[in-house]
Symmetry: D2
Subunit: 363 residues, 4 copies
Amino acid sequence: MSNSLGTLFRVTSFGESHGECVGVVIDGCPAGVQLSRECVQQELDRRRPSGQPGATSRREPDNARILSGTLEGHTTGAPICMLVENTNIQSDAYGPLADIPRPGHADYPAGVKYGGMNDPRGGGRFSGRITAGFVMAGAVAKAVLAGCGVEVFAHTVRIGRVRAPGTEAESARASCRTNALSCCDGPAAAAMEREIEDARAGGDSVGGVIECVATGLPVGIGEPVFSTVDGEIARALFAIPAVKAVEFGGGFALSAVRGSQANDPFTVAGDRVVTTKNDAGGILGGLTTGMPIVVRAAVKPTPSVSVKQRSVNLKTWQDAEMSISGRHDACIVPRAVVVVEAMVAVVLCDLGLQGGLISGCVK
Amino acid sequence: MSNSLGTLFRVTSFGESHGECVGVVIDGCPAGVQLSRECVQQELDRRRPSGQPGATSRREPDNARILSGTLEGHTTGAPICMLVENTNIQSDAYGPLADIPRPGHADYPAGVKYGGMNDPRGGGRFSGRITAGFVMAGAVAKAVLAGCGVEVFAHTVRIGRVRAPGTEAESARASCRTNALSCCDGPAAAAMEREIEDARAGGDSVGGVIECVATGLPVGIGEPVFSTVDGEIARALFAIPAVKAVEFGGGFALSAVRGSQANDPFTVAGDRVVTTKNDAGGILGGLTTGMPIVVRAAVKPTPSVSVKQRSVNLKTWQDAEMSISGRHDACIVPRAVVVVEAMVAVVLCDLGLQGGLISGCVK
Amino acid sequence: MSNSLGTLFRVTSFGESHGECVGVVIDGCPAGVQLSRECVQQELDRRRPSGQPGATSRREPDNARILSGTLEGHTTGAPICMLVENTNIQSDAYGPLADIPRPGHADYPAGVKYGGMNDPRGGGRFSGRITAGFVMAGAVAKAVLAGCGVEVFAHTVRIGRVRAPGTEAESARASCRTNALSCCDGPAAAAMEREIEDARAGGDSVGGVIECVATGLPVGIGEPVFSTVDGEIARALFAIPAVKAVEFGGGFALSAVRGSQANDPFTVAGDRVVTTKNDAGGILGGLTTGMPIVVRAAVKPTPSVSVKQRSVNLKTWQDAEMSISGRHDACIVPRAVVVVEAMVAVVLCDLGLQGGLISGCVK
Amino acid sequence: MSNSLGTLFRVTSFGESHGECVGVVIDGCPAGVQLSRECVQQELDRRRPSGQPGATSRREPDNARILSGTLEGHTTGAPICMLVENTNIQSDAYGPLADIPRPGHADYPAGVKYGGMNDPRGGGRFSGRITAGFVMAGAVAKAVLAGCGVEVFAHTVRIGRVRAPGTEAESARASCRTNALSCCDGPAAAAMEREIEDARAGGDSVGGVIECVATGLPVGIGEPVFSTVDGEIARALFAIPAVKAVEFGGGFALSAVRGSQANDPFTVAGDRVVTTKNDAGGILGGLTTGMPIVVRAAVKPTPSVSVKQRSVNLKTWQDAEMSISGRHDACIVPRAVVVVEAMVAVVLCDLGLQGGLISGCVK
């Protein structure tokens, strides 16, 4: 606890890495939203390890099942239960290390918290596998938001030492999706691919930064002072294993400049008030300004590396060395892009419902 | 909505910048915690603009009043209502600009959200003034945590272009508190003071970065997957106006290194398992590892600057220029240090109660 | 915990019987609702012991103070903090019995729960005094509901052995309010008055039944399956000390009849679908049907009686006799009528906001 | 929304009468509780229509599936997803009446609330079928409570015009469970059976009253003022379709007596404080007193009757007659006994966790 997120659009996550399935229940989705299994599957496929460089060799079909809450292709207002089964499980690889917690993983604190009763297989609840459920929830959230003209788009802006230049134009998005790295800049994507290959070759892993942009939001979404757009998005993003930092708009860089530079000047643009730049990342006082929301999440390198690491043996209470075999991603960033989108979409859907956005546009 | 934070230790904020008072109700504080008015006052005094360079000339006694929930110096288990009155209000300074939203402030989205019915005086609910309530809540949370050996300590690590070197030793803390900037490094503090003075002289403002460290926590506090220690702290920090980014441990820098470098090796230290470094910032899988929690928040420069800015006149629907007079901080970072501590303490108190920490040590 | 009620219209109660004040914070009240101090005071005055037969001799002005959330006579969307001060406190009367819990009061379980650290003076948080806060919250909820054409009206239908005949006509309501008993039937009111006088003369007390009717609600308010209209109203009514039973429409009597009798037949009435009788009490499947909500709450006799009672001395761990002096109500039913209204109004306001009712009619 | 109940032991319901399945997710169950599929199945079997007089002819195996949250026969602290598939569905019977809402059912308000987008087949979310999920949640709650010595037991005390005498002795419980009516009194059970047969013969239905008793609770469980034991139990019971009234201990009858009669005198019994009678139903001030909790719920007759009823045709907007065929219970009371137990157990588990009960006894 707590495996639920949201107030009016409430997502409850369940399932373990090596259990029967991974799933999600969504409570509060408005009735009458078009929602097909295919639309959910499409999002899941973006998360599935397939073409991405550095992706695990664990391959599962991840067939989305919708167990409740829809009828004849639309939502009914009832809770939507969705899941994917776990089919390609190899728990053996984890066995030998049962008493030696993996550095950078939750093995140790989880074992303490649950008195050793938690499911340790493949990380159990702490595995990145559970984000399959997040992605299914994101698919529903996006379907709701799309009806209101809101679009959520994430892309890779950094892999290890390689950064993609600038925030790209709308036009770059199409190419981004055909790109195995979800990076909008071609040359950068190629360099990122080499960075990942380099890490993998060394039995190591590498992280990166994902940027997410949400457009089409009206002004004034967000519930101050504790359910702000930035606060709720940040909390949701930290539910993704490996995220260690979150910033909006100018982010950390704003701490270095003067107020006169940091402020985004307002100007009139037709029937809208806009800002001439967007260092606020579309958020002032925790509320949407009508400009695009821009958020970046730092993803640490996946902690499963095959190089030798130091740890402790909890049975003998002595220092120990370990090396992780098994099937692991050398870089999860490309696969996490759709997960970041999902979390942002879920939060915006929830805050949108609280702010009157979605009920207004669905009906 | 929502002006409440927390599940078992629940803080509800109320009050406006230029209303009668600013306050807070805490529901769920265990009975029997020593709590005096003086202890709350002491925290408030750290937030009060007094000696800090760059602080506003709005001076209020900020006398803490405890209206309920205590008896003879201890908490009773009943909700604790606390407030400070607003005594030194000059709303006139805001009058002339009523139709011109201040860049970087919430004026514009708030006006849209509430249909113009919100309290605009001094920013109303969106003023930094409401953090006085946060600080009172933090005082209670710290009293609870202290009984369990948990300490929360924040300090300034950056002002504008000036960064303090390294994460300082325990020994530096004492000097930090006598320092008007709450910076643990003497020379850096002096340079930060000049940076602020430079900004103020230019009619401008400057931001910075605050780091907060929490020690003494047991292993396994945090409620995955959506009420993680990092996620909940981040959400709470974004309730502080001006915070634009939050990172834990190595934070953004972890996105650039290899997994073998990012992972913190475990080792045995007496009867504890510790890590030989702490790039995880004391958190794995959203749970405390027993190492200190380390979090940094980026604070943008206060948006109230007296230099000319571009905005729009919402009445005439035309671009306009504005300049903000009134009493404003050229840098709120030093005053925000205690606010950051308060938010971290409140979250740890709540998650601690959920994790069984505090009920165990209070009783 | 938990001293908060509601999801979107959230009421947080604070204060103790013999503390500094009793109050409430309302979070989520829409902006732009007309709300004056006088309107809140008027409701409080209905709860104040003044003319009612059997009312305590504790007399306090109960002047409502609105500390936040309003501006120039309307709500701002910010949390509304309201309180009344406790001015006429005589804690001495409780002193001698400190170790002997009063039968029918919460003294004993509260002492155990809070380890003796709770505020025992006058019952502390368990006193009926805290319903003054509920009434203030009810005043705000009624103001919101009134803007949507929803009216909430409660009246006394039983005092001890005296029952008022039938559910009265609309026309009877006016007379009900001028009646010290809030009973719509004149002769019954007179008999009730005698019943109370009889109890008081014997150093005893008497309870009764309050019926509450809410009209003007649209069809479909309520959030199944756990936030139903009946479930949420029931929960809120049990927050009133002394309520021991709650029934809707036909209530317990429906358990004795056949389905064909219990069902309310639908019929067309102009542009509305109505039922030809209302044994469902306006609720089907936890949702409003458009017919009046009818709910009855049984109020046990106030447990403070001056006749001798058996209890235990927790210090000596022996049986003991006790007799309660102090100022107490021989019957709290007439004063509780406005409290029942308040709780029903608060719940309907919250469920109305969730169901889209109120946002639609306020804006 | 809201299909979730509870704060620390949180139950989320999903599934529809004629959808793929009916299920539940439990979040917050402590790790290390013994839980087998068989134990859940046993509870489900008590709800299944099999031997009870008046039960529907819809027969399904209702095989419990546990999809997550357990490992090797114990809970892991992760969310527990459980479901039963719907296998014996005959939606045709509902077709002809699609435009004519069934009196006493939620068809009409649900259709309005969800704009006709809800799942109408077999009542969808408003069917008693969804209580299969409640029962599974109850099985888990009972397993947790059993570890703390808490037992929850419900029985039938009224069917139509037949009442069972008195509250029965402990000894009667065994016979109660072998009884198809779950009535502890043999002769009354026989009379109840005739009452049901009489209703069924007339194409009609009949309701009743279920009493639930919880023993073994420590003093002081419950969270005033809005999460009281009585309030939370009442709210949960109203989630059972057909419940129209709830009372505790003396209930409505307490409104008729004097305070000196209503109060339960305390006395010392060994190392415990008890009361010499239990008209409070084990609850004072919303807290457990240590005496058994006693609650009664009135169940209206199932609204599906085959006798002719008056309704309206929503297409033609004219009055209409209808008669319900299909497979329905003439009396659901015996099947609802285990559902009442489940709801009470779920609430006590949640409040127990909040009050420190269960964490103390599981670990």
